[in-house]
């Protein structure tokens, strides 16, 4: 019998292009009704039938099964069945049900050959049938797949899975009711964990499970009527199952058969592909449910500690999800970090590491509205870690206290700081300076900002927090290049950074210097000055220099004096090391390269000469004095070459030569070595080994520099304007002296070393003790503590009381003014008496009490 053919019946390969079929307009319900009516019409006569009267569809189905299952599907009859199904789509559900019935029977009777044939037939029908009619058929199809998946024979499970995958790839364009994929998700997830003894079969089962899950996701992800695959009940199975296989190295380490290797995907590769696909499909609202199980999995399997897998997972996540959602992942990680505040340092470090790597992947700026939140959380973690480190243990709920491993906390802190840097590096300039301000605002600067350290860690806590936050700040400044320094570094940033409080501690002081360097160096010149030396010819450095812009100019107008003052005061600190002087040299050099106008150059030279004077005094230890001399010499050697004024250069050169002959320990090459050979004592140097202010003024005068200013010794001050107007910053001791200073006429300025009364003196006078470091620290600690814990009113009241006490004490002190301590400016004068008078009239701001 010739096979009747529908004129438009597509050949097998085209069946895959199902969506292109013309659509029947009739809705499903109508179809169902038709089908029901037909059933009744036909069914009436067939009921309770013997073989010959079997319905046509049953006969057609029966005929596709060969006598011997080895022969496989009877192709010709399969075509007939397909044709029948296409021409009478309303019969599809009957065909499906009957096939399914046969399959069930065959499974129970272990006639696996027939099972395979039935599945093949189903697959073909599925592919051939119109997408709308599929719906009628799917129930029995899924029932059959389920049947196979329930079997404990791996081959049947895999057969079922393969059919399911084919089905999953069919795009249906009608909504499908009454389908539940619960079982499939559960079973495929279970298969992903197969522990079948034979490793090859185990791998096959696991891979089938992975593909099956992929199929479920594909099938359901776009179908709103389906159980939401993104619900935790599904995600909590799917994601861990994928991760389990992603992480499974045992499969990888199997000796791969070389020829199969090329075209065959490994389970790990397959898993990664599926995981990526899943993530790529996640909409905004689903990200959370997809990422949460990842976090849980990493928790449960203790995978944060080792980091590599956790990092790998999140790299996959960050690269796979739609980029506009990436900040959600960051947020989730941050939340997880918070939730793990009481976990071991290793766990926290792992999460931080992941954050750090994820941050770099996240497209710049897409941290979005959560920028400060990100940094806030990280800073909080820093603080928590410092607390743990200092207290040595922490309360661990009802389980008791947990002992802290100090070195692990340290590592964590470094990791957090690095992560802060990673995040910052993704930010545009304006956001970066926002973050810098934010971090600055968290640094405990007594008098300006409240301390951040918790009450029970006290002074050391505050100091450690300062160090941590400054390190973080340093990270944020790495690569920071702004064309507008003025807006990027407002005084709310510079004031606390340059404050006296951050100068005392050697480590803190160094960090501040490094931050300044990093901010000022916008052309990566800093490397040229990383060591301090007399550079004979600076042209070999190949410095990158831009002309000083208008904004830079304004910035220096506003801030030059406070920067110079900072440098000067830092030099005056005793506990400095080579690193400090190297940083000072870098800072001076970079200021000269990045921000120098003619006026700035003049002031820098004055500063260098003032440093030479400072080193001449005997107040500082010999090492410091030699180092400052060396710094001054190295810097003058640099700046003279930058001015390119030959006579200036010559003078500097002569002095250096003289030093080389007579006193090499005043040059960097001799001071900044591992074991410098320094003299026991160092009398104030004189003669041709000192740089002469008058001489330099003279040499530069010829080139149009301001000779008058050049000849005036430098005195530390904040800004030119500040000397005329009211001082703004309170709690800053040096500024206090300047106010006193400003009451003098400018001409007398140099002769009036108001600076000789330092805050130290006042403090010492108050506590009636000469130098009690310990006491001072303790007091500071108490103050910090009080500020942390006391209500504002109490502090205010207390300050009032202290202020009046101070005022009366001061009056006493100044009446019996004793010999003042050495001045930080180093200017000497005989007019000691005259300058103390205005102090009587001064009303000290409340906060100066501290």
């Amino acid at each position: 019998m010739p096979l009747p053919r529908l004129p438009n019946m597509p050949g097998m390969p085209y069946w895959l292009t199902l969506p292109n079929f013309p659509n029947f307009p009739s809705p499903r319900t109508l179809l169902l009704d038709c089908c029901t009516i037909l059933d009744h019409q036909v069914g009436g006569g067939v009921c309770g039938c013997c073989g010959a009267l079997r319905p046509r569809y049953k006969r057609l189905v029966d005929n596709i099964f060969p006598e011997d299952p080895e022969d496989g599907l009877v192709k010709a009859n399969m075509e007939k069945l397909t044709f029948y199904a296409l021409s009478a789509p309303e019969k599809l559900d009957r065909i499906g049900a009957y096939l399914s019935e046969r399959l069930s029977r065959d499974v129970t009777r272990h006639r696996y050959g027939y099972v395979c044939i039935a599945m093949e037939a189903l697959d073909q029908l599925l592919m051939a049938c119109h997408c709308q009619s599929i719906n009628l058929f799917v129930e029995s199809f899924l029932g059959m797949v389920r049947k196979l998946l329930e079997a404990d024979k791996p081959n049947l499970q895999i057969l079922g899975t393969n059919s399911f995958i084919k089905f999953a790839n069919i795009e249906e364009d009608t909504a499908s009711y009454h389908r539940s994929y619960d079982f499939f998700v559960s079973r495929f997830s279970e298969m992903c964990h197969s522990s079948y003894e034979d490793p090859d079969i185990r791998t096959k089962i696991r891979m089938a499970g992975i593909r099956g899950l992929q199929g479920v996701v594909r099938k359901t992800v776009n179908d709103e009527l389906q159980a939401n695959i993104w619900d935790p009940q599904h995600m909590d199975k799917i994601v861990p199952s994928l991760l389990f296989n992603l992480q499974d190295e045992t499969v990888e380490s199997q000796s791969p058969s070389p020829e199969a290797e090329k075209d065959k995907e490994s389970p790990v590769e397959l898993t990664e592909r599926c995981f990526r696909e899943l993530l790529g499909r996640a909409a905004y609202g689903n990200i959370k449910n997809a990422v949460k199980p990842v976090l849980m999995h990493l928790d449960n399997h203790s995978l944060w500690e080792t980091k590599t897998f956790a990092v790998r997972c999140f790299k996959i996540i960050m690269y796979s999800i739609q980029s506009q959602h990436s900040h959600l992942v960051i947020q989730q990680l941050l939340g997880h970090l918070d939730a793990n505040s009481k976990s071991s340092a290793k766990v926290r470090a792992g999460i931080v590491q992941v954050l750090s790597e994820a941050a770099v992947i996240e497209a710049s700026g897409s941290v979005g509205p959560t920028v400060l939140e990100v940094f806030n959380t990280l800073l909080k973690q820093l603080r928590i870690s410092v607390d743990y480190e200092l207290t040595g243990a922490y309360d661990y709920g009802n389980i008791g206290t947990k002992i802290i491993k100090e070195h692990e906390e340290r590592q964590l802190q470094e990791s957090v700081i690095k992560t802060i840097g990673s995040f910052a590096s993704t930010l545009p300039t304006y956001q970066r300076s926002e973050v810098m301000l934010f971090i600055m605002g968290k640094i405990p600067v007594p008098g300006i900002y409240p301390a951040l350290g918790s009450a029970n860690t006290g002074f050391e806590g505050s100091r450690m927090i300062q160090v941590m936050l400054l390190k973080s700040l340093l990270q944020v400044t790495v690569g920071f290049q702004t064309t507008n320094m003025l807006t990027a570094l407002p005084s709310s940033f510079l004031d606390p950074l340059l404050s006296f409080t951050l100068m005392e501690d050697a480590e803190v002081r160094l960090l501040v210097l490094d931050i300044l360097i990093s901010l000022i160096d916008r052309h990566d010149n800093v490397l040229m000055f990383s060591s301090i030396s007399i550079i004979t010819d600076i042209s070999v450095l190949k410095l990158k220099v831009d002309k000083c812009s208008r904004q830079d100019n304004l910035f220096m107008k506003k801030n030059a004096q406070r920067l110079f003052r900072h440098i000067y005061l830092v030099c005056n600190e005793e506990n400095s090391t080579q690193r400090h002087f190297e940083s000072l040299f870098s800072l001076l050099a970079l200021l000269s390269i990045e921000l120098a106008t003619e006026e700035v150059v003049v002031d820098l030279i004055r500063l260098a000469l003032a440093l030479q004077d400072l080193a001449g005094e005997e107040a500082l230890p010999v090492y410091n004095r030699c180092a400052i001399h060396a710094l001054s010499a190295a810097y003058l050697n640099l700046i003279c070459q930058l001015t390119t004024v030959p006579t200036f250069c010559q003078h500097v050169h002569e002095v250096i030569e003289a030093r080389q002959k007579e006193i090499p320990y005043l040059l960097p090459e001799d001071v900044f070595v591992e074991k410098p050979r320094l003299p026991e004592s160092l009398p104030k140097p004189e003669g041709d080994i000192v740089f002469l202010q008058s001489k330099i003024a003279e040499t530069l005068g010829g080139s149009g520099y301001n000779t008058e200013r050049l000849a005036t010794p430098y005195i530390p001050q904040i800004t030119d304007e500040d000397r005329l107007s009211k001082r703004k910053s309170i709690g800053d001791t040096i500024s206090l002296q300047l106010e006193m200073d400003s009451r003098h006429s400018p001409e007398r300025e140099q002769k009036t070393p108001t600076e000789q009364i330092t805050f130290e003196t006042l403090k010492q006078a108050i506590v009636d003790s000469v130098t009690m470091e310990e006491q001072e620290r303790e007091r500071r600690r108490l103050v910090v503590e009080r500020f942390q814990t006391a209500p504002f009113e109490e502090i205010a009241a207390h300050c009032g009381a202290r202020a009046s006490l101070l005022q009366s004490k001061l009056n006493q002190i100044f009446e019996i003014t004793i010999r003042p301590p050495p001045s930080p400016s180093g200017t000497l004068t005989a007019h000691g008496q005259s300058r103390s008078i205005p102090v009587y009239e001064m009303i000290f701001p409340d906060l100066c009490v501290y």
């Binding site: 059959m144 329930e150 079982f183 279970e190």
Partner: protein, 203 residues
């Protein structure tokens, strides 16, 4: 005609500490053997067995979970759809008994609140190593209103009974349920919606 060959389908999930014998119980029941050297379960295991109770075919979908801590999140996700939970401990291991409250909390948190829970003390063949006396366990089960049964997967004591009792209980509840709200409940099992059932019943 139905594509399914059962009257009831129930999902049973086994939980409890690692090594208490969950997998052995399941294999004893489904395969009739006591596996020598049974390894720890990875993630979840799946078995199916159809039994006949009073002429009705009951299909039991059995999900055997890993007791190991590291699989906790995946195993928890299986609690939700369970019709019954078999909470197992090892009578020769005090620890596994002490963990029961913790397991109950997990059940509270993740399982459906209509779930039937049965407490099982396994390994009674090791009577001389018993650490948890029967009465103590019974009292505990009582306070939590759970059924209690002691088994030996090795000697096949009470294993059949465990699953069959559970099936009976589930049938009873299912019938109760269909009476209670007769119009909308394909209660146990999945996806067998009324419309589908009625569609089939036209045959």
């Amino acid at each position: 005609m139905s594509t399914e060959d059962y009257d009831y389908l129930f999902k049973i999930v086994l939980i409890g500490n690692a090594g208490v014998g969950k997998t052995c119980l399941v294999r004893r029941f489904t395969q009739g053997l006591f596996p020598p050297g049974q390894g720890a379960t990875i993630g979840v295991d799946f078995m199916i067995k159809t039994v006949e109770i009073k002429g009705e075919k009951v299909k039991l979908q059995i999900w055997d979970t890993a007791g190991q801590e590291r699989f906790r999140s995946i195993t928890q996700s299986y609690y939700r759809s369970a019709n019954a939970l078999i909470l197992t401990y090892d009578i020769t291991c005090e620890d596994s008994f002490c963990c029961l409250p913790e397991w109950l909390r997990e059940i509270e948190q993740y399982a459906n609140n209509q779930v039937v829970t049965i407490l099982v003390g396994n390994k009674i063949d090791l009577a001389d190593k018993r650490e948890v006396v029967r009465q103590r366990a019974e009292e505990f089960a009582d306070t939590q209103s759970m059924l209690y049964l002691e088994t030996s997967a090795k000697e096949s004591d009470n294993v059949e009974k465990l699953f069959l009792d559970l099936a009976c209980e589930l049938i009873r509840e299912a019938k109760q349920n269909t009476l209670d709200n007769s119009e909308n409940s394909p209660m146990p099992g999945e996806g067998k919606s009324i419309s589908y059932l009625s569609c089939c019943s036209l045959n």
